[in-house]
């Protein structure tokens, strides 16, 4: 397949679809969008078939075109096991989301579908880019369509949510840009002012692994910037608060993609860039990140317990689940990282499905308040069955895909430090608690008066909805029973990333700098508490702004 630029094809097929939609009447928007997404999906599957898992750690199907020669910036794409998985996840969830949008989205379909397809371009691009500059561009491209999707087709408080989403993400990503540039320059400076390769992923990685790698101070700062960008995206505690808002306000498909793919960008970034470029800094930061991950795991679960809104609950559960991803990555153990990657894929499938399911209810009731639900099992048995399936999948029921990733992460964590694993494992209880409690309140008991008031609107899942959910169910079962499919593909990537990071050694941190940093943090908190009265009714104020 040497001649065919298959990666570019996958990346830009959705764009072609978007352009086509732009020039066709809006009645064609839906079929064309679905067609484009399906086509992309099929090509991505072909890619997966053509991919050589035995060389999974190496980049395959690479494409390389000089782009901005002045800085050695290239249009360079390539796929390894890690990116392959995430690309296929993206293409899969994309068409499912588009299909799931057919009914709920009734206004400005053209714009919606265009946004969605451009979003897909950005997401795939992030996973395939092998040039840091290109990576950044795709990273930011993701932002805009998502901003529109939440902002235009979202719920009542959508504007607050979408602006928060964008601003939050931008803060991180712009600092990351600084880090990318700094890294490139360090490379250039080390190569006698030659820009060639300064943005090239493989060249930078090789440089990082050679000799002392990048300068320790640069590493600390650049990794810090990358960390912030990725941590916000993941999102890690305490950078997670944009997520519940964004999820609650986003349309169903937006939530699916948000949870299914966007959060994965962070995890992907950590593995691909954070560890390989700045191994020493990664080692330095790892303990803190592990602690934050543990907090996120437990904290997300506890807060999920008391959520009154279905989507918020699932959103907080994402915080908890994604905590496993960061935990798995930063313990620097093969099992942990493999678990983390599996967890990313599985969280994408399961949480994506949960959002679809919440969407199904919302479609019928225009409500997501758990308190008003109840007794759905009697009226929507098929729905409740599927719902239950994914609830248990999310709770990490063995045999379904969620379990394997979680358990591998825990095994890795245990060999890193049993106490870490113990804390993280504790979430098995909390996870079951909030998920089952939600399930019980929604599905069992007598039909609530609110729901019975809806009368015949409360129909069971439609064939289209089943069509969106069935593939996810199949994958969840398949990956639960045969996780080897995924593991074989990622083993190589994991080994490489770990080889990179384990070649590093933690950098001694100036205690003074640490104290200043923590002091600044404390100051912000104090400022916040002092100014508490000013924030009353902020949501409405923001919204009217």
């Amino acid at each position: 397949m040497d001649g065919l630029p298959i990666l570019s094809l996958i990346t830009f097929l959705p764009l072609a679809g978007a352009l086509l939609i732009a020039f066709l009447p809006s009645t064609y928007a839906r079929p064309v969008a679905l067609g484009a997404a399906l086509l992309t999906w099929i090509v991505s599957l072909l890619l997966a078939i053509g991919f050589s898992a035995s060389r999974g750690g190496l980049f395959q199907f690479t494409e390389e075109v000089s782009w901005i020669p002045a800085f050695g910036i290239e249009y360079k794409l390539g796929v390894d096991g890690l990116s392959l998985l995430l690309v296929v996840l993206t293409t899969t969830l994309s068409w499912i989301s588009i299909l799931a949008s057919f009914k709920p989205i009734q206004t400005r379909i053209k714009e919606y579908m265009i946004s969605f397809l451009i979003l897909e371009v950005g997401m795939i691009g992030v996973f395939l880019a092998l040039d840091t500059f290109l990576f950044y561009i795709f990273w930011e491209i993701v932002l805009v369509p998502m901003y529109l999707i939440i902002g235009i087709w979202g719920g009542a408080n959508r504007i607050y949510a979408t602006i928060k989403f964008v601003l939050y993400t931008l803060v991180g990503s712009l600092l990351m840009l600084v880090a990318i540039l700094a890294t490139a320059f360090a490379f250039q400076a080390a190569h006698g002012g030659d820009w060639t390769g300064a943005f090239d992923y493989e060249a930078l990685r090789a440089f990082a692994a050679s000799g002392g790698g990048f300068d320790p101070t640069l590493q600390l700062l650049a990794f810090g910037a990358f960390f912030l960008a990725f941590a916000i995206k993941v999102p890690m505690f305490p950078f997670h608060t944009w997520l519940p808002d964004a999820h609650v306000e986003a349309p169903t498909a937006g939530s699916v993609i948000l949870a299914g793919v966007l959060l994965k960008l962070g995890g992907y970034g950590f593995i691909r860039y954070g560890l390989s470029f700045y191994p020493d800094a990664a080692q330095t930061y790892a303990p803190a990140i592990i602690i934050l991950s543990l907090i996120a795991i437990i904290y997300g679960a506890i807060v999920a317990l008391v959520q009154p809104d279905l989507k918020k609950l699932v959103a907080y559960s994402s915080v908890s689940h994604m905590g496993f991803v960061t935990l798995g990555i930063f313990i620097f153990q093969p099992q942990g990282m493999e678990g983390a990657i599996l967890q990313m894929v599985n969280h994408g499938l399961i949480t994506g499905a949960l959002f679809l399911l919440v969407g199904v209810i919302y479609e019928r009731t225009h409500d997501r308040a758990i308190a008003r639900m109840g007794g759905l099992a009697a009226r929507m048995p098929v729905y409740v069955t599927i719902f239950g399936f994914f609830v248990f999948a999310s709770a990490g029921l063995p045999g379904l895909s969620g379990f394997v990733g979680e358990f591998l992460t825990l095994v890795g964590a245990f060999s890193f430090n049993p106490l870490t694993a113990a804390v993280a494992t504790f979430v098995m209880i909390l996870g079951a608690a909030y998920l089952l409690w939600m399930f019980q309140r929604v599905a069992t008991g007598e039909l609530s008066s609110f729901l019975s008031g809806l009368g015949s609107h409360l129909t069971d899942v439609s064939p289209t909805e089943i069509l969106t959910l069935a593939p996810l169910m199949a994958l969840v079962v398949a990956f639960g029973l045969f996780p080897g499919i995924l593991l074989d593909v990622i083993n190589g990537s994991v080994d490489r990333a770990l080889a990179d990071v384990n070649g590093g050694a933690a950098i001694a941190i100036d205690p003074l700098a640490l104290a200043i940093g923590l002091g600044a943090l404390a100051a912000v908190v104090v400022l916040r508490v002092v100014t508490l009265p000013m924030f009353r009714g902020r949501a409405s104020a923001e919204n009217s702004a």
């Binding site: 493999e338 095994v411 593991l487």
Partner: protein, 661 residues
């Protein structure tokens, strides 16, 4: 044989998938496929069991690999089955009782709209349970461990419209999860210690090297595994889910919450016996928790009025016995009791189901009485079960319970024995209280229901009788050392079961250094037997005096006044028993009230502090922007003054830079 072993588990899951897919359309025929699947599974299991117990798989057992489940580099897990004698013994219990419960359910559930669903779930449970006993690696066992939890969840909450059922199912799953955390951590610890999760390999590694050389001490591993067992087998303090689980249909209570799933913990500890043997501290914990659960549950069972709850606490109590046995090192006795208890408790539950059916879904024993003549099959089978559990020779319960108590005493755990004896009194008491209240004396049944009381159909009574047989004879058969059974299985010595399990326990016993003492009927063993029988009789008679009796010539009415007087004599104990020692209240306080407060606080924290900082930064930014905008007064001179001041500052700052560089 290699293909047969997977079939045992594959048939029920096939039955589940089939029924889940098309069962809704089959109506009253929905049971055919599931029951057939379990029946064939039973048949195959019996072949496998026979092969195993006759040494067909050798001492080491036989494993069947299906596929590489998790090939994550060094962490390599196979999906594989394994059969040895312990598995075989468990297979007997699981498949037999499973099959009988399936058959019984055809009658019991016949009028339920969720008929097909029930059989689907039952099949799912059978698969999970079989996977549990057949699993070759700790992780497979863990998978099954969770899957039985799932099926239990589904079956307890079978009547999902009932809020109490939904709550109970959730509670069961979550409390089980608490134990599962321990189990999961135990598995991780095993992997970290040994690098493998294959059960036999890992045990070999764990027990062959010096104990201190492991990153995780073996005692910790053992206790973590035991935590899993505590959850599944409802040992204190994780016992709270089991009584609530009675919200499920009665066949479920019989199958899952009496005969099979709750035994999984016992199986786990027995399976891991060398690990426990290497950690004597852990064994003491096991024994202590077991016997404490036994007496705690027995004390509660004495005052409960719900027929199924009495049986549930009784189950807890008997499971406590088993763990006590495991803790003292009487592993054979534990499995022995597991088997006998499985049968007679299954019988009792199914019988109680029949009773409940007869009195139209009434479970309160205060509204029963005098049913012996109206539902004779049920009465007689339940009586057999009660005598068996009370420990009256030569019924099954006598042998197994006596072996536990005897072993405990002989192995130096006198305190376990002492408490065990006390529990035996209570057991006999509450069982005959149950029989007395239900079957004997005057009828207190609702007048409207009274005329409609009828014996259950044959599809239900036949299983009862089929279970009554092992309740009667199993103890004798398994404990009897001599012909004709011993030679048939090529065994001599202490008893059939002990012989079968010898290879399983061989390593563990070696580590422990225990040797089976010679059985001395006219020595210490005789005395212990006498005591056992005596206390059983004491309990029984006490129950007769208070609640009446009608066996043959022995006739006597109940004495409610005396019951009241007695309870008033020990008000605290009575109330504690009636209120189940307030565990539900405690849990409510700790998890719902305090836990809820914590969660609510964290949510507040999230929305106001964490998010507040985020929004606060935004607000402060905006406010400062608004403040700075005030500079823009619209008046040129103000601007000019600003510029002039800027100029002055500029001059001053450049002035500071004058002179050298």
């Amino acid at each position: 044989m290699e293909t047969l072993i997977p079939l045992i588990a594959a048939l029920p899951i096939a039955g589940f998938l089939f029924t889940a897919a098309v069962g809704r359309r089959l109506g009253q025929q929905a049971h055919i496929v599931p029951v057939a699947a379990v029946a064939i599974s039973w048949l195959i299991a019996m072949i496998v069991v026979f092969t195993a117990l006759t040494g067909g798989f050798g001492e080491e057992g036989r494993s069947v690999k299906l596929w590489d489940w998790i090939p994550a580099g060094g962490f390599h897990i196979e999906a594989a089955f394994f059969v040895d004698n312990l598995t075989a013994v468990l297979l007997i219990v699981v498949t037999t009782i499973g099959l009988l419960v399936h058959v019984y359910s055809i009658g019991y559930m016949s009028h339920d709209p969720g008929y097909w669903r029930f059989f689907a779930y039952l099949n799912l449970f059978m698969f999970s349970m079989l996977l549990l006993v057949l699993g070759d690696s700790w992780l497979t066992v863990f998978v099954a461990w969770e899957l039985v939890g799932l099926s239990s969840y589904l079956l307890i909450g079978f009547w999902y419209r009932k809020n109490s059922a939904a709550l109970a199912s959730k509670k069961a799953f979550i409390v089980n999860r608490v134990g599962d955390v321990g189990f999961a951590l135990g598995i991780m610890a095993i992997w970290v210690n040994t690098g493998t999760l294959n059960i036999r390999e890992s045990i070999d590694v764990l027990t062959s090297e010096t104990f201190t050389a492991f990153p995780i001490p073996v005692a910790i591993v053992a206790l973590l595994l035991f935590a899993g067992a505590m959850g599944k087998s409802a040992q204190f303090p994780l016992h709270v889910w089991l009584p609530d689980a009675m919200e499920g249909p009665t066949p479920v209570s019989a199958l899952i919450h009496a005969a099979t799933m709750v035994n999984a913990g016992v199986y786990l500890v027995a399976r891991a016996n060398p690990i426990f043997a290497s950690a004597p501290e852990a064994m003491v914990v096991v024994a202590g928790i077991g016997i404490f659960t036994a007496i705690l549950a027995a004390s509660i069972a004495m005052t409960q009025t719900d027929i199924k709850r009495v049986l549930a606490y009784s189950t807890l109590s008997q499971l406590g016995y088993m763990f006590a046995a495991l803790g003292v090192g009487a592993w054979t006795a534990a499995i022995f009791h597991l088997m006998t208890h499985g049968f007679f408790k299954g019988l009792l539950f199914l019988g109680s189901g029949s009773v409940i059916h007869a009195v139209h879904e009434e479970q309160d024993m205060r509204k029963m009485g005098g049913l012996a003549k109206k539902i004779p099959h049920t009465y007689w089978t339940m009586l057999i079960g009660s005598i068996a559990i009370a420990g009256i020779p030569p019924l099954a319960g006598f042998f197994s319970k006596d072996e536990i108590l005897g072993e405990a005493f002989k192995l130096g755990f006198a305190w376990v024995w002492a408490i065990g004896v006390l529990v035996a009194v209570m057991t006999a008491f509450y069982m005959f209280r149950l029989i007395g209240l239900t079957f004997w004396g005057e009828s207190r049944v609702d007048k409207a229901v009274e005329p409609k009381i009828h014996e259950s159909p044959r599809v239900m009574t036949i299983p009862l009788w089929l279970l009554a047989i092992p309740s009667l004879l199993l103890g004798l058969v398994l404990a009897w050392p001599g012909p004709p059974l011993g030679p048939l299985f090529g065994q001599e010595g202490p008893g059939l079961l002990a012989g079968w399990l010898e290879p399983v326990y061989h390593d563990g016993l070696e580590i422990l250094g225990h040797h089976e003492a010679e059985f001395a009927l006219f020595g210490i063993d005789g005395v212990l037997i006498l005591i056992s029988v005596a206390v059983a009789v004491i309990g029984m008679v006490a129950a007769w005096r208070l609640f009446g009796v009608e066996i043959g010539g022995l006739r006597r009415g109940g004495n409610p006044a005396q019951v009241q007087a007695l309870s008033a004599r020990v008000p605290f104990l009575y109330r504690a028993s009636l209120n189940k020692w307030w565990f539900d209240e405690l849990n409510h306080l700790v998890f719902i009230v305090i836990g809820g407060r914590i969660a609510a606080f964290l949510w507040w924290f999230d929305a106001n502090i964490v998010d507040g900082i985020v929004n606060g930064i935004g607000t402060v930014t905006r406010l400062s922007g608004g403040g700075l905008a005030r500079v823009q007064t619209g008046r040129v001179q103000n601007y000019a003054l600003g510029i002039a001041i800027g100029l002055i500052v500029m001059v001053a700052s450049y002035a500071l830079m004058t002179g050298g560089r």
